[in-house]
C-alpha cells in the first residue's frame, strides 16, 4: 500500500550532479531515516519524493505507482517541514483540516477527523488558537496533525526537530516514534543528527556527497559499518581511528605501538590498514599501551577521556571514575573482538 521505491534516482542542477543514482526500497509501514552531513543530498531526495523537486533521472514510486510526473498534491503524501510551515492566518483546527477541505470532505467529517488527530497529539484544547500563540513543540505537533488527518500513503519529515531545544527534541523524538507505532504509516525522515537516526529508525540510510554509503538497521550500522565514513558518523563520541600496518595478524600503529587484534581471516591480511575502536571498547589495562591524557570529561555516569597516542587523539569512555589529570600517562587496551579493520586506501571495511 504505502511502499516507497527509489530506483537509481539522480538529481542535477545544470551540469552539477548532486545525487548520483541512489536506490532505496522502503517497505510499507517502515520508518526509514535518511542521515548524513549537510550537503549530502538527503533533503533533496526527500523533496523529490514529495514532488517539490524534479527528478533528473531514475524513478520514484509510492504505493506501486510511479510518481515522477505527478504534482505533490497527487502523490498521496504528507510532509512536515523544519519550519513547521503552519498557515499563520488560520487556527490550529483550520490548519489541520485544510487539506481535507480541499479534497471536498464534508465539514462534519473534517471536524471529526481533526478532533481525532488532535486527541492523538494532545492538541484538543488548542484547536482555536493561532500558530503564533503556540510554543515550538505545540507547533510541531500541529504540523504532524496536519499530516496525519489525511491518512496518506507516506509521511515525509524534513529535519522536523532542528528548531527545538535539546530537551524538547528528545521528547518529540519519542512522540514521533510512538505515533508511528500507533498508525504504522510508511515514514521517510531526514535528519543530520545520528542520534535521532539511531533512536527512531527501523532502517537508516547513510548518505554522503550524493551517494548512499550504507543502508541497514541501527545496530547493523553500529556493529558492521561498511566503511570508515559510516563508522565515524554513527555513534557518539565517534569511533577512534588509528592508522598503522598489519603484518601477519600483528597491528603496529604509526607511532610504533602494537595493538592486539582478535585472530581471524581479516587480521590475516597484510599492508597499511586503519583500525577503528569505539570509545566504550577501550578499558584500563596495566598491560595495555600507554596514552597521554589531554582532557577528562566526567559526565557522572561515565568519564570521557581524550588522550593522545603518538600523533592520534583518541577518546575513551570508562564506567570507572578516574582520578587523573592532563599529562598523566595511563595504560589502556582495546577489546580485540570489537576492533574494526579498514583498508587504508579504500576506507572500506575489511570483512573477517
Amino acid at each position: 500500500m504505502g511502499a516507497v521505491t527509489i530506483s537509481n534516482v539522480r538529481k542535477a542542477y545544470g551540469s552539477v550532479e548532486i545525487l548520483h543514482g541512489v536506490s532505496i526500497d522502503i517497505a510499507d509501514g517502515e520508518f526509514v531515516v535518511l542521515v548524513g552531513p549537510s550537503g549530502c543530498g538527503k533533503s533533496t531526495l526527500l523533496r523529490m519524493i514529495a514532488g517539490l523537486e524534479d527528478i533528473t533521472a531514475g524513478e520514484i514510486s509510492i504505493g506501486g505507482r510511479v510518481v515522477n510526473r505527478l504534482a505533490p498534491k497527487d502523490r498521496d503524501i504528507a510532509m512536515v517541514f523544519q519550519s513547521y510551515a503552519l498557515y499563520p492566518h488560520m487556527t490550529v483546527e483550520q490548519n489541520m483540516g485544510f487539506s481535507l477541505k480541499l479534497q471536498g470532505v464534508s465539514a462534519a467529517e473534517v471536524k471529526q477527523r481533526v478532533a481525532g488527530a488532535a486527541t492523538i497529539l494532545g492538541l484538543t484544547s488548542y484547536l482555536g488558537r493561532y500558530p503564533r500563540n503556540l510554543s515550538g513543540g505545540q507547533r510541531q505537533r500541529v504540523a504532524m496533525g496536519r499530516a496525519i488527518v489525511r491518512s496518506p500513503s507516506a509521511f515525509l519529515f524534513d529535519e522536523p526537530l532542528s528548531n527545538l531545544d535539546a530537551k524538547l527534541r528528545v521528547q518529540m523524538r519519542s512522540e514521533i516514534k510512538q505515533l508511528h507505532q500507533r498508525i504504522g504509516t510508511t515514514t521517510v525522515y531526514v535528519t543530520h543528527d545520528q542520534i535521532e537516526a539511531m533512536t527512531m529508525a527501523d532502517r537508516i540510510v547513510v548518505m554522503r556527497d550524493g551517494n548512499i554509503e550504507q543502508i541497514g538497521t541501527p545496530l547493523e550500522l553500529y556493529d558492521q559499518p561498511a566503511n570508515q565514513f559510516v563508522a565515524g558518523f554513527i555513534g557518539s563520541p565517534s569511533m577512534n581511528f588509528i592508522s598503522g600496518t598489519l603484518d601477519g595478524g600483528r597491528f603496529t600503529a604509526d607511532g610504533g605501538t602494537v595493538i592486539a587484534l582478535a585472530s581471524g581471516p581479516a587480521s590475516a591480511a597484510s599492508g597499511p590498514v586503519t583500525i577503528g575502536i569505539r570509545p566504550e571498547h577501550l578499558r584500563l589495562d596495566p598491560a595495555g599501551f600507554p596514552v597521554e591524557i589531554v582532557t577528562t570529561e566526567p559526565t557522572g555516569a561515565e568519564t570521557h577521556i581524550l588522550a593522545r597516542l603518538g600523533e592520534t587523539e583518541i577518546v575513551g569512555t570508562f564506567r570507572d571514575r578516574l582520578a587523573c589529570v592532563p599529562g598523566d600517562i595511563i595504560r589502556i587496551s582495546a577489546e580485540p573482538g570489537h576492533i574494526h579493520l579498514f583498508d587504508s586506501k579504500t576506507a572500506l571495511r575489511i570483512i573477517g
Binding site: A50, K73, F81, Q82, Y87, P88, H89, Q103
Partner: protein, 279 residues
C-alpha cells in the same frame, strides 16, 4: 517612568514642532482661504500681519457655490475612476506580482525589468501615443478610457512582488503538499497574509488616479466626464479666475485622499517599512 524634559529635549521638541507646522501651513492657508469671502483671500498678504493667517470673516459662500455647480459631478467621476481602478488594478496587479514572485517561468526577469522601466517613464511621455490608441477604440469621454491606463501599475506590482517574496517558501510548499494549485495558494495563503501590501498598492493606485490631470484632460474633457482635477483647473480661465472656488475645490480634493490615508495609515507604513521578513 516619566521622561524628564531637559532644556536640550525641549529645544528639540520646539524645532520638530516648527518643522511640522511648516508642512501644515499650506494646508492651513488652503483651508482658511476656502472659508473666506473671495475678496479677503489676497487682501491681507501684503503687508504680512495677523489677518494674513487669522481670518476675520468666515463664510461658506465658496463651498455652497462649489457644490451647486458641476463640481459635484466631477468629484463623483473622480471617485468612480479611482475606486474602479483600485479594484480592477488589484485584480490584475496581485496575480501578476504573485507570478513574478513565486512561479519560475521563462522570461520572468525580462518581464519584471520591463515593469520596473514602465514606472520610471514619465506618464506625460506616453500620453499622446496612448491617446491615439484609446481613440482607436473609441474610448474618449468614457470611464473605460479614464480607468484602463491606471490598472496595470508597475509600482503596485513591484511592491506586492517584494512582499510576496518575503513569505516563506515552506508555506507554499506545504500548501502544494496539502493539495493546492497555484491559484489556491495565491488565494488561500498569499492574499490573506498580504493585507498591508494590498492596502498600500490600493492607495498608490487611488492616488495615481486622483491626482491625474494630463490624461483625463486629453481623454475625457466633456462636462459629463471630466474629473475633479480638471474641473478645478477650469475655475481659472483666460478671462476670469475665481479663487474662492479654487481654494474650496482644492480643499475637498485634498481632504478625501487624506481621510482615506489616515484611515489606512498604520497598514501603509507597516508594509513600506517591512516588506521583508514575516514569521
Amino acid at each position: 517612568m516619566r521622561e524628564t524634559i531637559t532644556p536640550r529635549r525641549a529645544l528639540q521638541m520646539v524645532v520638530i514642532a516648527a518643522i511640522a507646522l511648516t508642512f501644515l501651513l499650506p494646508l492651513y492657508w488652503l483651508t482658511i482661504s476656502a472659508l473666506r469671502p473671495e475678496e479677503d483671500i489676497f487682501r491681507y498678504l501684503n503687508p504680512f500681519g495677523p489677518w494674513t493667517l487669522l481670518p476675520n470673516r468666515l463664510t461658506f459662500e465658496n463651498i455652497t457655490e462649489l457644490w451647486s455647480g458641476s463640481f459635484s459631478r466631477a468629484i463623483a467621476n473622480s471617485l468612480v475612476v479611482a475606486l474602479v481602478t483600485v479594484i480592477a488594478g488589484l485584480m490584475v496587479c496581485a496575480p501578476a506580482a504573485f507570478a513574478l514572485a513565486v512561479i519560475d517561468f521563462p522570461g520572468r526577469s525580462a518581464i519584471f525589468t520591463a515593469m520596473i522601466v514602465s514606472f520610471l517613464i514619465p506618464f506625460d511621455a506616453i500620453a499622446v501615443p496612448l491617446y491615439s490608441i484609446m481613440r482607436g477604440f473609441n474610448l474618449q469621454n468614457s470611464y473605460a478610457g479614464l480607468i484602463l491606463p491606471g490598472i496595470g501599475n508597475g509600482l503596485a506590482i513591484f511592491l506586492l512582488r517584494q512582499f510576496f517574496q518575503g513569505i516563506p517558501k515552506d508555506l507554499r510548499e506545504a500548501a502544494m503538499v496539502d493539495g493546492m494549485g497555484w491559484f489556491q495558494i495565491f488565494w488561500n495563503i498569499y492574499l490573506p497574509l498580504s493585507k498591508p501590501a494590498l492596502i498600500s498598492a490600493a492607495l498608490i493606485m487611488f492616488i495615481f488616479q486622483w491626482q491625474a490631470y494630463l490624461w483625463p484632460l486629453l481623454i475625457a474633457p466633456s462636462n459629463d466626464m471630466k474629473v475633479a482635477a480638471v474641473a478645478l483647473a477650469q475655475f481659472s480661465s483666460a478671462y476670469n479666475v475665481s479663487f474662492g472656488l479654487i481654494f474650496a475645490g482644492a480643499m475637498f480634493l485634498s481632504l478625501i485622499p487624506m481621510l482615506i490615508f489616515v484611515f489606512f495609515q498604520q497598514y501603509f507604513t507597516n508594509s513600506v517599512a517591512a516588506t521583508g521578513s514575516k514569521e
